[in-house]
Subunit: 138 residues, 4 copies
Amino acid sequence: MHERIRASFERQGLMRHLGAELADISPGRVTIVLRSRPEVTQQHGYIHAGATSAIADSAGGYAALSVFPDDAEVLTVEYKINLLAPATGDYLEAIGTVVKSGRTLTVCHLEVFGVQGSERKLVAMGQQTLICLRQDSK
Amino acid sequence: MHERIRASFERQGLMRHLGAELADISPGRVTIVLRSRPEVTQQHGYIHAGATSAIADSAGGYAALSVFPDDAEVLTVEYKINLLAPATGDYLEAIGTVVKSGRTLTVCHLEVFGVQGSERKLVAMGQQTLICLRQDSK
Amino acid sequence: MHERIRASFERQGLMRHLGAELADISPGRVTIVLRSRPEVTQQHGYIHAGATSAIADSAGGYAALSVFPDDAEVLTVEYKINLLAPATGDYLEAIGTVVKSGRTLTVCHLEVFGVQGSERKLVAMGQQTLICLRQDSK
Amino acid sequence: MHERIRASFERQGLMRHLGAELADISPGRVTIVLRSRPEVTQQHGYIHAGATSAIADSAGGYAALSVFPDDAEVLTVEYKINLLAPATGDYLEAIGTVVKSGRTLTVCHLEVFGVQGSERKLVAMGQQTLICLRQDSK
């Protein structure tokens, strides 16, 4: 399961382009880290909501995939995210956690923390719906 | 108003890094375009939901800013987006449209189209809440 | 299709209890009306967001059902709703419109208007995801 | 604070009409209970998503109000809710919990459980944004 997720993550051009890294994989929970740098900012110098959302969406997607059958693929159906505070810090840490996993649909809770030294602050929170695509249904 | 928005967009490191461009600005409606390239893909080769969301979020943000007073700034409070179809095409076109603008909060409708030659397909749709920050309230 | 939807609506104890009525059914678009009365208010005397949401959710659900095969059932997966203005007026009019209908999932746009005499004001707007349940998949 | 919330809840015609009750109030967390009965059902006999949402929305609203200044009022800006399982049981228990409270906006996490005897199952989960209205800003 770890290898499948790592291989899939490597194929995500966007994650590589942003500089995001898979930090932790456990069943039903995946963490992605994004270091602050000028390439991911918005107009005030904070990390862009789009970058924050991108790593949150990927973390939730891989959390869902981690509990799917081996031959299944995952697609995001929709998500909602609240930007709670300016996304600042040395890096962002996005955690996707499976709340409910069904045969077709899975729901994840998304959290993004801004980490500065030893401080860790919740900067975004979301809720995501994903669909499990099986080989035989293609 | 056009100059303010163009200047702010130029300061968004993420939009430049993704290769997104401001395609159209009118009062209450802004269009951002993102060309397909390997740097914005997910694991199946489609454009990543995170990139789709990033340009949708920025389009809505600037649509809101276009109807704000001159000295105001905009922040995204939250948004929700449905990924309706794989994001493919020569480029994506994200349109943010103001639905309701109040003194404090503004709500935008977000649409993202995948454009391939003369075909144009709705690939994502969202709804976004933004807050108007005035100088005197800082 | 009209009869199926009317029969299903009649079985919704909540719609009857609130006093909601099916006002219009066309393929991919359903309208539900709710008259103002003390039984549907919140603490300031406006119509409660819960009542506004209930008719919006039902309108979207029946809009989806109107484009489903005859033997299929509909369930709401999730929805998001913005309360744009106090819900006042002689009655509320909720309109659910299908934006994208797939084999498994359907997405609807939801609008609720407050109608007072000849005035009609958008008081809520939402986006909803529904799932199509077929007999053979039960 | 308890009295203010109880008095406000009493004025909500919808909560009384549905048969909902305030079960618990603590700072930043409010629980509302709704007993199963035919008046709150949808077409399959489960509790209607609209009723589930209504008590979730109210629980979040009062959770926010519980951390506001004494002279402030609360309005729901928007919420998103996932219906995770059919809402069944002897009663539903909706819990609203404040995640982040700012000067203007507050974000709550919403959970609804179906309770049958000693079993308790998560049937819905949501995320809500609320605005604090102060007397002096009216």
